[in-house]
């Protein structure tokens, strides 16, 4: 039986209550919106990318604890990271939160591993991945709203 505390770890509550990098980014040069129509999570992501490096990143929106914490943790982690590294990190993150047996990748996630609890809650995986899908949209398909559906 899965324990609720595996899903709702303290770090999730912390980032839900006090989301980091929350609000618009005045000098953003990448932006995308994301939404999860099933549960009503909405997210706007702003990035400033220079020389293939994410110099700054902020988000705003309204969502459940999982999606808010995931967005907050993601922005914290990605600031200063190369775009290619960020995308590689999403692939690892996605593998870890959807499948068992990715211990090596899991070890590389750092604080993001607080979200691995969603693996036991298929309906909530979309909450955790929404910010990352929105990131992909901002980097590649600006103007297209990312959706988990």
């Amino acid at each position: 039986m899965s324990d609720l505390r595996d899903l709702y770890q303290e770090v999730i509550f912390d980032h839900n209550r006090h989301p980091r990098n929350f609000g618009k980014l005045a000098d953003a040069n990448r932006h995308a919106d994301g939404n999860n129509p099933l549960c009503g999570d909405k997210l706007s992501l702003y990035l400033k990318v220079e020389n293939d490096v994410i110099v700054d990143i902020r988000f705003e929106g309204m969502g459940c604890a999982i999606s808010t914490a995931s967005a907050s943790l993601m922005t914290e982690r990605l600031k200063g990271m190369k775009v290619a590294d960020a995308e590689a990190l999403f692939r690892k993150f996605h593998a870890v939160i959807t499948q068992h047996g990715h211990d090596e990748e899991s070890a590389q996630l750092g604080k993001l591993s607080a979200l691995t609890g969603v693996r036991e809650y298929p309906a909530r995986v979309k909450c955790a991945t929404l910010p990352w899908h929105t990131l992909e949209a901002a980097l590649h398909d600006q103007g297209v709203t990312a959706s988990t559906e």
């Binding site: 039986m1 899965s2 609720l4 899903l7 709702y8 509550f13 099933l38 549960c39 009503g40 999570d41 909405k42 309204m62 969502g63 459940c64 604890a65 999982i66 808010t68 809650y121 309906a123 909530r124 909450c127």
Partner: protein, 422 residues
């Protein structure tokens, strides 16, 4: 993860003639555990559990009577046809339709509305005509009319709701006018529980020459519906919210209107003769039932109607009202809980939000406590917009729910607050 567990004891109930504890025994799916806790099923507005009599009817049909209907001379086909048409008679009696040919079997309320939109409204409406609906409609009673408006140039008008989740009737009367060709209104709101004054609205719409479709998906399981007494032109509902199978539903329409409408789909069963020069359509109700219908579903729906008719809808309504009264009182004791939908006339639906916790998180934690609820927008995004919330959590009651279920719900909500420190 689920297993059969002992049935939970229901608390003594005020109405001596209603025994929810006994009724629970008729529903096998209720007797299991979820995450190690006894299942408390409070998602009945989404779909109800099925009584053994319905499950056994489906089983019997497939084991003994399975055949295609209306065409075979062999014994099984005759048995299947008789059972399917017998179910139509049961539906007719259940909603007191004047004639059996006024009962059209469809997939569900959604298909019934689309049928009326495309077959009744689309050929008739012109630019300048208006379709009137309400702000609390389910998406299934919004989108088909938007499609008709796009196809015909007609305008969609919307009756607003107030803070309690009741229709603003002054606005209804203001918006209703001779250009209104059709009124589509939900009998009981799935998101708010509001019971609408459909009788009054039907009379007013008729006075302006409009026809009226009533979406009864949430109403038929919880109140006696008499379509002749209401006077509505169309009434639609789904079987699976009425303790019946999924994939079967009913369109009731006044015979004169159905007669004048072209078929919705073409195919087998809906024709009398076919040649490449001319096809003659079948009589009602078959004109609207192209292809092999959901035979088992229709028969299963008949069994569900038998089941609830034996208990009595008045008794069911009274019991659910008592559950709602109790649940509302207990929910209001919880600090930070806000009810969404506080109409004076309300059916067994408790929609709510909690300060500091997103409904999606509420739903996951309630599930962990064994309590099944719906969280989300309930296919009523305009209602969510009205209340300024992205979603709500919703508990909805059925005849087998007990005060114990309500107590489990309240305890689980308190657990949410404890986990989220709110």
């Amino acid at each position: 993860m689920s297993g059969v567990i002992e049935q939970r004891k229901a608390t003594a109930i005020p109405s001596a003639d209603f025994d929810a504890a006994r009724i629970r025994k008729d529903f096998p799916a209720l007797h299991q555990s979820v995450h190690g806790k006894p299942l408390v099923y409070l998602d009945n507005a989404a779909t109800t559990q099925k009584p053994s009599s319905v499950i056994e009817t489906l089983d019997h049909y497939y084991r003994h009577d399975n055949a295609n209907i209306h065409r075979g001379v062999h014994t099984l086909s005759e048995r299947a046809s008789a059972a399917f048409e017998g179910a139509r008679d049961k539906v007719q009696g259940f909603i007191n339709a004047a004639e059996r040919r006024e009962i059209i079997f469809v997939r569900g309320a959604t298909e019934a509305i689309n049928l009326v939109a495309q077959s009744y409204a689309r050929p008739r409406l012109k630019p300048g005509d208006e379709i009137l609906i309400t702000e609390m409609e389910h998406h299934s009673n919004i989108v088909p009319w938007q499609m008709v408006c796009e196809q015909t140039g007609a305008m969609l008008k919307v009756v607003p709701i107030d803070a309690a989740g009741e229709l603003v009737m002054e606005e209804f009367y203001r918006l209703l006018n001779p250009r209104t060709k059709l009124l589509g209104v939900v009998h009981i709101s799935n998101a708010l529980g509001t019971v609408n004054p459909v009788r009054e609205m039907i009379a007013a719409a008729h006075a302006q020459g409009a026809v009226v479709l009533v979406d009864g998906a949430q109403a038929v399981p919880h109140a006696t519906v008499d379509v002749q007494s209401l006077g509505c032109d169309f009434y639609v509902f789904s079987g699976h919210k009425l303790y019946g199978p999924t994939g079967i539903g009913v369109l009731y329409g006044k015979a004169a209107l159905l007669e004048a409408m072209p078929p919705y789909q073409g195919g087998g069963d809906m024709i009398r003769t076919v040649s490449f020069a001319k096809t003659e359509y079948n009589a009602l109700p078959y004109k609207f039932e192209a292809g092999t219908p959901h035979i088992a579903g229709g028969i299963g729906l008949g069994a569900a109607i038998d089941y609830i008719t034996a208990i009595g809808l008045d008794a069911i309504a009274a019991w659910e009202h008592e559950l709602l009264r109790y649940a509302t009182a207990r929910a209001l004791e919880i600090p930070g809980l806000r009810l969404i939908g506080t109409a004076r006339d309300k059916a067994g639906i408790l929609s709510f939000v909690l300060d500091g916790v997103h409904p999606h998180d509420i739903g996951t934690i309630l599930d962990h406590e064994g309590v099944a609820t719906r969280t989300g927008h309930h296919c009523t995004m305009p209602v969510m917009e009205h209340y300024g919330v992205p979603a709500t959590a919703r508990a909805s009651f059925a005849l087998y729910n007990t005060r114990d279920d309500v107590d489990c719900l309240i305890a689980a909500i308190n657990k949410v607050k404890e986990i989220f420190h709110v």
